[in-house]
C-alpha cells in the first residue's frame, strides 16, 4: 500500500506529464486560464445555495475545458471527490437543521436543508474540478510565471519555485527515512511521537545541510541576494487567449445574472 509520501510523488509525476501534453487548452496562455477559472469560481460560488439546478449548470465549464484539454472526466470526478469529507462535515448541519419540505420525488421528501447540503457538496466538487483542470492543463512553472506576470512580487514566485524544486528531493529523502522506520517498527502504522520527533528532526538537519549547500552553490554563481528576472522567452498573448477569456467570462456572467434554468423551466410550463 502506498503512503501519502508516495502518493505525493506520483501526483507530482502525473502533474508534470499532464502539463507537457498537447491540446488546445495547453496552448492557451496561463493567464487566460487563470483568469477564466477565477471568473468561474466567483460566479459559481455567488449563486445562492437553494438554487441547486443553476449550480448544476456550472458543471459545463469543467466538463468543456477538461475535454478540450484531453483530460478524462471519470478520473477528474474521482479526484474531485477528495474534497468531500471536510465539506460534508460542515454542510451536514444544514441537512440536520433545516427540515422544511421542499419537493417530493415519489414518496421521498427532500428538505430545503437537503437541497442546501447537496448544493454545498456540488460547489466543493465543481470548484475542485475546475482547479484540477487548470493545474492539469497548465503545469506549475507556467502558473508561477502567470502569477508573476499578473503582479505577484518576484521574491514570492521565486520562493514558490524553490519550494517546488526541493519538494521532490525532500519527499524522496522523507520516503527513504519513513521506509526505514516502517521496516523496523513491525506493522505499526504510525511512529510514536518520540520516534517521530527524532525522525523528522533528522530530516530537518538534512534540510539545513542542503540549504547550506544550495547557498554555497548560489554564491559560487554570483548570487547577491537579489533575484534576477528570468522570464525571458515570455509566451505571447494570442487572439485565441482573448477569445477564450472573453467568451467564457461573458457566458459565465450571463449565466449568473439571467438564471437560464429557471427562465427556461418557466417558459416550458
Amino acid at each position: 500500500m502506498k503512503n501519502s509520501l508516495q502518493n505525493a510523488l506520483c501526483a507530482l509525476d502525473a502533474l508534470e506529464r499532464n502539463a507537457r501534453a498537447e491540446s488546445p487548452m495547453h496552448r492557451l496562455d496561463a493567464r487566460a486560464k487563470l483568469l477564466a477559472t477565477t471568473v468561474y469560481l466567483v460566479t459559481m460560488l455567488s449563486v445562492p445555495l437553494p438554487q441547486l439546478s443553476e449550480i448544476l449548470l456550472y458543471a459545463l465549464f469543467p466538463m468543456a475545458t477538461a475535454t478540450l484539454g484531453g483530460m478524462r472526466l471519470g478520473p477528474l470526478l474521482r479526484r474531485s471527490l477528495a474534497v468531500l469529507p471536510f465539506v460534508a462535515l460542515i454542510g451536514i448541519f444544514n441537512l440536520l437543521y433545516d427540515r422544511t419540505p421542499a419537493l417530493r420525488i415519489g414518496t421521498l421528501t427532500v428538505t430545503e436543508g437537503g437541497i442546501e447540503f447537496a448544493a454545498i457538496l456540488l460547489r466543493g466538487i465543481l470548484s475542485m474540478a475546475a482547479l484540477l483542470v487548470l493545474i492539469g492543463t497548465t503545469g506549475f512553472y507556467a502558473l508561477c510565471r502567470a502569477l508573476q506576470q499578473s503582479g505577484i512580487p518576484r521574491f514570492l514566485t521565486v520562493q514558490l519555485l524553490f519550494v517546488y524544486r526541493y519538494l521532490r528531493v525532500l519527499l524522496e529523502e522523507a520516503l527513504a527515512m519513513s521506509r526505514a522506520c516502517d521496516a523496523r517498527s513491525f506493522g505499526r502504522k504510525h511512529p510514536a511521537l518520540r520516534v517521530w520527533g527524532t525522525l523528522v528532526g533528522q530530516l530537518l538537519l538534512r534540510t539545513f545541510d542542503r540549504a547550506e549547500q544550495i547557498h554555497r552553490a548560489m554564491l559560487a554563481r554570483g548570487f547577491t541576494g537579489r533575484i534576477p528576472d528570468c522570464t525571458a522567452g515570455k509566451p505571447r498573448w494570442r487572439r485565441a487567449d482573448t477569445a477564450f477569456l472573453t467568451g467564457w467570462s461573458l457566458a459565465l456572467i450571463a449565466a449568473r445574472w439571467s438564471y437560464p434554468v429557471e427562465t427556461l423551466t418557466r417558459l416550458f410550463r
Binding site: 445562492p48 454545498i120 505499526r188 504510525h190 510514536a192
Partner: protein
C-alpha cells in the same frame, strides 16, 4: 483546516485575500534587500532565500509523515507555523508557510483557489504573526530547558490553532453557508482544534529540542532582543487585547446565537420564502448582498430545473465522449 472553495462566498474570499496579500507584500518588503542596502542586509537576504525555500519543502514533506496520537488510534501531522517562525523569524516564516499553502493549492488542489486568502490568513498569518510574537517569543529564553520549550510550543500552537479555528468559523458564517448558529459551530470547532493544537505543540517542541541539541545556532532568532520598556508595554497591551477579543468574541456570539437561530427557524416554518434578516451585522450584510444578487428561489420550478439540467449535462457528457472517440480515431 484547509478551507475549500465550497465554504466561502466571493466577498469573504476577496476580503481575506486582500488582507493576506497586504501582509505578504509587507513580508516581501521587509526581507528583500533595499536597492542601496546595507551589507548586513544583503548577507541576511542571500542566506534566507535558499533557507526559506528548503524549509518550505521540509514542512511540506514533514506534513506527510504522520505520528500516532497516543490513546486514540488516530494520527496527526504538523502545520508548522511556530516551527518555521522559531527558525526563520515570523516574516520569513509567513512567506515560507504561505508558499507551502499556495503549492498545496496549485499542485494538489488542496484548499481552494478562491479560499487561498482565507487559508493563508487562518494558518500562516495567525500563527506566525500573532501566536508567535505574543505567546512563543515572551516565553522562550536562550537557556530554556526542554520543558520550557515544550510548554512554549504547546501554548503557542494552541493559541495559533484556536485563532485559526475561530477565523474558519467566522469566515464560514459570514459566507452564510452553514445553517449552524455560530455558538454551536464554535463549540464544535474549538475543542477539536484544542486537541490538534496540543499535538502540534508537542511535535513542534520535539523538533525544536532536536534542533537545539544539534544546531543551537539556528535558534538564534528566538533570543529575546533588548526591548525598550515602552515597546514591551505596548506588546503586553496587544496580548491582552487579543485575549479579550477572543474571549469576548466567542461569548457574545454564543449569547446572540440563540435568538438568532430561533428567529431564523421561525421564519422558515412560517413558510415565508424570504429569509428574515438576522439581527447580527455579519449575517445582515451577507443577506443584503444575496438579496440584491438573487431572484427569489421558487421551489415549484426546482424539480423541473434539476431534471432539465441533468438532461443537459448528460447530453454534454455524450458530446465529450463523441469528441474523444473522434479524436482517438483521427
Amino acid at each position: 483546516m484547509h478551507m475549500s472553495d465550497a465554504l466561502v462566498s466571493p466577498t469573504v474570499a476577496a476580503v481575506a485575500g486582500a488582507a493576506s496579500l497586504v501582509l505578504l507584500g509587507t513580508a516581501v518588503r521587509k526581507l528583500r534587500p533595499a536597492r542601496s542596502g546595507l551589507h548586513t542586509d544583503v548577507l541576511h537576504s542571500e542566506r534566507i532565500v535558499p533557507l526559506m525555500g528548503v524549509m518550505g519543502a521540509f514542512v511540506f514533506a514533514a506534513q506527510m509523515i504522520n505520528f500516532a496520537v497516543p490513546g486514540t488510534g488516530s494520527s496527526g501531522h504538523i502545520v508548522g507555523g511556530i516551527l518555521l517562525s522559531a527558525i526563520l523569524g515570523p516574516w520569513a516564516a509567513l512567506l515560507a508557510l504561505s508558499s507551502v499553502l499556495i503549492l498545496q493549492c496549485l499542485l494538489f488542489a488542496d484548499g481552494g483557489f478562491l479560499a487561498l486568502g482565507c487559508n493563508i490568513f487562518n494558518m500562516a498569518v495567525l500563527s506566525c504573526l500573532v501566536a508567535y510574537p505574543l505567546v512563543f517569543r515572551p516565553l522562550m529564553r536562550p537557556d530554556a530547558t526542554p520543558g520550557r520549550i515544550f510548554a512554549a510550543s504547546v501554548l503557542a500552537s494552541v493559541a495559533g490553532l484556536e485563532l485559526g479555528a475561530l477565523a474558519v468559523t467566522l469566515e464560514t458564517e459570514a459566507s452564510a453557508i452553514t445553517a449552524l448558529p455560530i455558538g454551536k459551530f464554535l463549540l464544535f470547532m474549538l475543542p477539536i482544534h484544542l486537541a490538534i493544537g496540543i499535538g502540534e505543540g508537542l511535535a513542534t517542541g520535539a523538533l525544536l529540542c532536536a534542533v537545539r541539541r544539534y544546531r543551537p545556532e539556528l535558534l538564534a532568532g528566538t533570543e529575546p532582543q533588548e526591548q525598550p520598556a515602552k515597546r514591551r508595554f505596548v506588546r503586553t497591551l496587544a496580548a491582552i487585547a487579543v485575549a479579550a477579543l477572543l474571549v469576548g468574541g466567542s461569548f457574545s456570539w454564543l449569547a446572540s446565537s440563540q435568538p438568532d437561530g430561533l428567529e431564523w427557524s421561525l421564519s422558515r416554518t412560517a413558510g415565508t420564502a424570504e429569509m428574515a434578516p438576522a439581527p447580527d451585522g455579519l449575517h445582515r450584510t451577507a443577506a443584503a448582498i444575496q438579496e440584491t444578487t438573487a431572484a427569489l428561489p421558487d421551489y415549484g420550478t426546482t424539480t423541473a430545473g434539476l431534471v432539465g439540467c441533468g438532461v443537459l449535462l448528460l447530453a454534454a457528457w455524450g458530446g465529450t465522449q463523441l469528441l474523444r472517440t473522434r479524436r482517438k480515431g483521427a
